[in-house]
Symmetry: C2
Subunit: 260 residues, 2 copies
Amino acid sequence: MIHRVVFIGAGNLATRLSHALSAKGLDVIQVYSRTAASARNLATQLDSAYTTRPRDIKTGADAYFVALTDAGWGKVLPSIDFGEGLVVHCSGSMPLSALEKYAANRGVLYPLQTFSKNRLLPFQEIPVFVEADSKKNEKILLELAGKISDTVSLLDSEKRLVLHIAAVFACNFVNHFYTLASEILESRGISFDVLKPLIMETAGKVLEMAPPEAQTGPAVRFDQNVIVKHLEALDAFPEKKELYHIISKSIFEHQQKNGL
Amino acid sequence: MIHRVVFIGAGNLATRLSHALSAKGLDVIQVYSRTAASARNLATQLDSAYTTRPRDIKTGADAYFVALTDAGWGKVLPSIDFGEGLVVHCSGSMPLSALEKYAANRGVLYPLQTFSKNRLLPFQEIPVFVEADSKKNEKILLELAGKISDTVSLLDSEKRLVLHIAAVFACNFVNHFYTLASEILESRGISFDVLKPLIMETAGKVLEMAPPEAQTGPAVRFDQNVIVKHLEALDAFPEKKELYHIISKSIFEHQQKNGL
């Protein structure tokens, strides 16, 4: 049974996950972050201790949640004595085996979502993917994950990496196209608000239809008249013009390939 | 007052718009489409006549809605005698002036949404943009648009083109990244369903936050460790690898530019 936990990292993911665990009765005894303000801020919210020094991370916790950037691991983890504590990382692209040199008991708890510090989400609805180094730790982690999420699955490291890449396409890249669209509108003093119903419908459609079936617009119709006009209008925005060209070509090629 | 209308085109947009107008008491007296099945199908739904021959399009209607691909105009419109009827096109990228050679009374009614034939949407929530060749026709179109939508604005042709381009980025390109994500998952037998909460939250976030503030993921953090792993894993998918590289670079450059 996991009860006393330490959070290593105080970013968006650490903030939301620690709150979710705390709400289910777990005791977050300490928060570590490189930056004092982040560590203090999260620790205050959770009524826990905090530190900015890896060697002051408490021994004897039941579990340690590692929610650092992948690049941060080497600077922090070697200094910590995890003892028999279950060390759980939350990274999509780190294999479970990356914890071998640091910890005797290892696991992964990967919530698939985009986290912003000031946006509260019902954690219960977030799909959580779990992996562990033994059947015993797997059982412990599945039970823990089941407390905070309605959708818990086992997933190995290789598939988790693939899932993370797909998430980058469906979330980070998608959001970047929202950014580009907002810049295009801004250039003519049009409010980004006008796009919001379209954005929600575009997302809502793929809850019911496969994305290739949901595709509309000039590229999928190979509507050269429109494409040429759009490219001309983007002359003043070379980066957006190039992306328009590349993505339209990709849409058209997929359409051909799928024989739609 | 517009009462008797003809629809020229029977695609997704024509289908949804004609239903919305019909529900508000307008009489769709005829549907034209190049393909008999499409014309018959929509005409049956609306209890109207149909034709596949441009020269058989009825004279004397109050308004004619042109919902063809831009490339289709030249094959259809020159054969029609519009008389004093108000000819209204629904294209984002055609200027109002493109109707000058065909019609004496001209307007644009542009609903900003992605339409699929079998997906019913409350038209009332769709932003509609209107333009006309005279104050009189503008008033007529504003009144008509106000019956079917809660959000009606005047917008000139140049800005409508910009809006259409932004919509391509925020809808068509976004949907293409959903397609690419689904293909990545499919390659490892993972269901697209796992991404759905992430997709909805990514869209939902920008209702409240500006897109650059909503950005998360390896590119915006310049997390080289993760980016390199993702690119390696995409070796088997050269097109996706190239897009990953290009979009990540663009995200990072925007981040630098905005000083976030």
